[in-house]
């Protein structure tokens, strides 16, 4: 979606300083009873896509598959509201990391950009120093750590160091970190890089609670904080001017039972001047011009030398099961390798023992 601004408000035009938006959305829990964590992540994914960030700029990591899980009574759907009102999975979803690929190592590699060379583009966070990044984590956590798939964990120190690496490598302009786990505020205690704003669903010592179960599906569908966050985001459209102070008020203690927290001391701008769409949407600013631009001449295709390419022999399809050929197939020539250490050592030992026992004079009888 585009926001067209007049040229005389150029100051406001460039106030945010970012030119592109990225989102990294991670669900770290496995197993069917953690359905709500996948629903949390998918509802943020849905909002972010609706407000304009394309799939190529979203890295979505889901640790387990709930939509096509055999226990799901309605396959290919993930609901966020009971009575199956809203399907956050939708028909157009691209999951970049799924199943066993969601590990602490892969998450940190995505953030810092240190991926193996053969990683496809859709799995990379190709942000630059003018990118605003939204990072959303959900799952089971504790005081100072977040559990990944019930087998490993990431600590708040590691996360803070990863963000510092991103800052040193100029991989972000501003970063918004949202976490919805138990004792989530402990995860942002250790941040020390500039331009970070963090929100958490509960303070240290508190548990984040889930919202409501659906009796047909049999599990809790969403966590409270993300449920009210989704309701808040459903009212946002690409041209809305809501700012971060409204986001801090989402889910007060009366609705959430836990106390959501936030941290803005590392952020350079005043949170009241930061728009929600600076992080959740991809508002492209365009400038209308009346000048004409001359395009270069089209590149001419090279003449194909078709004379050499005509194959004179007839091609045929290969026999799918050539029984006689298979039976008479020669075994593959195995390369000869010199005998390895164990065999050599064994033979040396045998020879040594023999000559020690019987003496060297027998050598001429053997050879």
């Amino acid at each position: 979606m585009l926001a067209i601004l007049l040229t005389d408000s150029a100051g406001q035009f460039f106030s945010s300083g970012h030119t592109n938006n990225w989102a990294v959305l991670v669900c770290t829990s496995r197993f069917w009873f953690n359905y709500r964590h996948v629903a949390n992540t998918l509802s943020v994914y849905r909002s972010v896509k609706r407000l304009g960030i394309p799939d190529s700029h979203i890295v979505l990591m889901l640790a387990d598959d709930m939509a096509c899980n055999h226990r799901n009574p309605k396959p290919a759907t993930v609901f966020s509201h009971k009575n199956m009102e809203l399907n956050v999975y939708g028909d157009d979803v691209e999951v970049d990391y799924r199943g066993y690929e969601v590990t602490v190592e892969n998450f940190l590699r995505v953030l810092t950009g240190r991926l193996p060379p053969s990683t496809p583009r859709s799995k990379r966070l190709l942000s630059d120093d003018r990118s605003n990044i939204l990072i959303y984590l959900t799952g089971h956590g504790g005081n100072g750590f977040l559990k990944f798939q019930d087998s490993e964990e990431i600590s708040n120190v590691e996360l803070a160091d990863a963000f510092e690496q991103m800052w040193q490598k100029r991989r972000y302009n501003e970063l918004l970190f949202i976490i919805d786990t138990c004792q989530g505020a402990s995860m942002y205690e250790r941040f020390y890089s500039p331009n970070l704003m963090a929100l958490a669903s509960s303070q240290v010592g508190e548990d984040s609670l889930s919202h409501q179960p659906d009796l047909a599906i049999g599990v809790h569908l969403m966590d409270r904080y993300t449920f009210y966050l989704l309701e808040f985001l459903e009212d946002i459209h690409p041209a809305s001017k809501t700012n971060m102070n409204d986001l801090f008020k989402v889910c007060p203690k009366s609705q959430c039972v836990s106390t959501p927290g936030h941290r803005t001391d590392l952020f350079l701008r005043d949170p009241g001047s930061v728009l929600i769409t600076d992080f959740f949407g991809s508002v492209r600013k365009i400038e209308i011009t009346m000048e004409t631009i001359n395009l270069t001449d089209p590149i001419k295709q090279m003449e194909e030398n078709s004379g050499n390419d005509v194959q004179t022999e007839n091609n045929t399809y290969v026999d799918q099961l050539p029984v006689s050929e298979i039976i008479h197939q020669k075994p593959k020539q195995r390369d000869w390798h010199p005998p390895d250490g164990f065999i050599l050592g064994l033979w040396t030992l045998i020879l040594l023992v023999f000559f020690k026992t019987y003496g060297v004079k027998h050598l001429k009888h053997v050879f």
Binding site: A67, Y100, D150, V318
Partner: protein, 581 residues
Amino acid sequence: MWIGFSLLMPDCFSLSFLKDLHWCGVCMSVAPPHPHTNTDSFQEELVVRPLHSGDIYASFQFRTVWEADFSRGNKVSHYQLFPKSLGQVISKFSVRELHISFTQGYWRTMQWGQPFLPSPPGAELWVWFQDSVTDVDGTWKELTNVLSGIFCASLNFIDSTNTVQPSAAFKPLGVGNVTDHRFLRYATLPREIVCTENLTPWKKLLPCGSKAGLAVLLKSEKLFHSSFHSQAVHIRPICQDQRCKSTSLELRQTLNAVFDLHTSGQAKREWSLFKMFSRTLTEACPLASSSKIYIDITDNSQGEQFELSPASSLLSQAVVLGDRRTFSVYDLTDQATFGSTRSLNLLIRDMLRPLLHAERYVAGYGLQTGEIHTVMYNHHPYRSFPVLLLDSVPWYLRLYIHTLTVTSKGKENKPSYIHYQPSKDRLRPHLLEMLVQLPPNSATEVTVEFERALLKWTEYTPDPNHGFYVGSSVISSLVPSTVATNTSITQEQPLFSSFFPCKEELSYFVRVYTEPLLVNLPTPDFSMPYNVICLTCTVVAVGYGSLYNLLTRSFQIEEPSPGLAKRIANVIRRMRGVPPL
């Protein structure tokens, strides 16, 4: 017994004139082929076949044929109907043939017959590279990573521990004379889950996307609520014409789905496109040269029990899987097809019993040893035929090949060809290929014992108590058929009958996949490190700590502090200069 099937299409007579104009507009905007650019064509078809058990089988095939030649390293930069992402993959990795499939569910051969295009549960990928590739393993690893990004699947888990190089199975399905098996790689991921995130990029590869034509029917909510769902991409070189002087590149995207009578059909044997897909068709893809729907009406030869709606005068006969079947054809490019709605009723009678089918299971007890049994059934009354069995077993099930037995009808059946490559721990899986002759009307059982290995504790998945999967066995065979098959492949044949090339008229090639196996490996208790640390620290703290304190603590006598009255009295006595109490 009446079984209903209705083909619902909206009434579009009033809009037909406008539609003609719209199509002419599209034709005009597509430029005539430039002599220097490559020409490609696109065909789509849907085959609907009612099955014996009341379920219904729908098979979509989308074919793009492109007269491009990648074999000599020609750089292509102009893509029209052929998707650019796949074209770049083929040229960069020098791929001759690529076959990838994603399947959810297991195909029940005895209840449903043979599928048009078989596929094993999970993901399967097999690739033939060009002979110009020097490092096949490195190229294979890069190719799997790139494909995992294109299809949103975890194909990057394909590495040397689950890749094999078959020596006799999986011959190329395209034209060409090279059959050096050093350029073939085969891997399968039985655990791979298939969901909307795999269907979305697959749909985006089609020229019309999911906006027009038959792909409009592909909605995930209905497709994944089925007994079997399989989507595949097959790329291979084919002959351009009968004489086969030059080749063109064919891309086939296929989607097979079987809808269950009770879950999708509400236990009523009346099927319609709306009931199966929750969508109806309004137009063919404007970029398609042919767009057809085939309904299998073989079991209604007399015509009196049929109520085909809308009735089609086009009938076509095709020999598919050794059986001559009659189809009622609806040509979507013809405007007259879209008429008012009518309903179609079919009667299902006995279909041809499949001649070859197989099953596989694990026998034994405990977590140390076990046995894998593969049973292959030959239902032909008097003919025997050879089958090629390909088994790829992961390294953590150590097979004892000296216990391999093949028995048919109680007697030992010696295979005429065995190729066995043993596994290397953490490097390579077992590969077993055998050519076995199946006697008529018999069940052949292949048994091999194995022992389970203990993995290192970092090698376990986050949910190890679920078990570990062993990929399906592949059984390829030339099954004798009663009806002569057409050996020449022409462009006019329906797509579903022209996938596997056949050289002989009296047999057809079929590939059957068995079930994947789920075996439990001995799993350690992962909470033990935490328990050990707690216990050790407690013992150290209580035992050693107390001893240390006893040895190094020094004791001092200390007067108990006096009460309040005494303290005040001491203060007064100090002021007086008298010694305290």
